[in-house]
Amino acid sequence: MTAVFLFASAFIASAVEMVEALTIVLASGITRGWRSSLAGLGAATVALAAIVGALGPALTLIPISALRLFVGGLLLAFGLQWLRKAILRASGFKPLHDEDAIFARELADARAAGRKERMGLDWYGFTLSFKGVLLEGLEVAFIVITFGSTQGNVGLAALAAGVALTVVATIGVLVRAPLSRVPENTMKFAVGVMLTTFGIFWATEGAGGSWPGEDAALPVVLAFVIALSFGAVALLRRRRPSLVAA
């Protein structure tokens, strides 16, 4: 059961970040040339693989209870950020993530920037693509390393990220446009729920608590976080008029 959760969580989280990275790579490629954009993408991918390759095995050396406490706490803090933003978007307190608008903004910025060549590459195009992929990819690397090491299965989490990369890259090459039809807001909500669920589960175990039914409690925690999130959306939607009037 936890392997399915692990794969699904790493896949969805990776896919949503890769959709965002694709938007930046496309904007860079269209405006600044594909060579520089793809070189940036390649360099960032190598950097991310090095991070996962170095930190993944290193984390497995930490005793499991300390690792779960540390990773659970990190995931909980990180997951609550995602969940908070997703709930605020779903209840109308924050604008929805719009990939088309982000693409238009990136295109305009890239067109306006001056040209400077380094190592035969358009430097703006290279760094735009590199930074975009590295920053979006760091969240993927963080999830792959934390989920994988705590479950003792970095390979499965990395496989999920690899499958997500293949799917998003293939669709990106075919469509050659930002993947604005991907239900990103829903996916971000799902990632927030999963990160928070794993965070609660592992942090409790790491702090010395034990779950009734052990791993079987995970779906119950998941159901609790889903109910909590939908409850918060409903409450905020109801409060919205009075808050605006206040």
Partner: protein
């Protein structure tokens, strides 16, 4: 020095984000869970409850701020 500050600021934003109180609530919640578990009392129920409270307070704060 500027680079060290930028590096620190990046990781702060990455993990803590724009509501440090929520992150502090998480740390406090884990600490209390550990204290309950150390007293040999079932502690599994505390963190979900703490997360519910921390999340709601954070949402409420942001909703009020947005509505102003």
């Amino acid at each position: 020095m500027r680079r060290i500050r930028a590096f620190g600021s990046f990781w702060w934003d990455f993990v803590v984000g724009d509501d440090w109180r929520a992150a502090a609530g998480v740390v406090l919640g884990i600490g209390i869970t550990a204290a309950i578990a150390a007293a040999d009392i079932a502690a599994w129920w505390f963190l979900p409850l703490a997360v519910a409270v921390v999340l709601w307070l954070s949402l409420r704060r942001e909703a009020l701020r947005t509505s102003r």
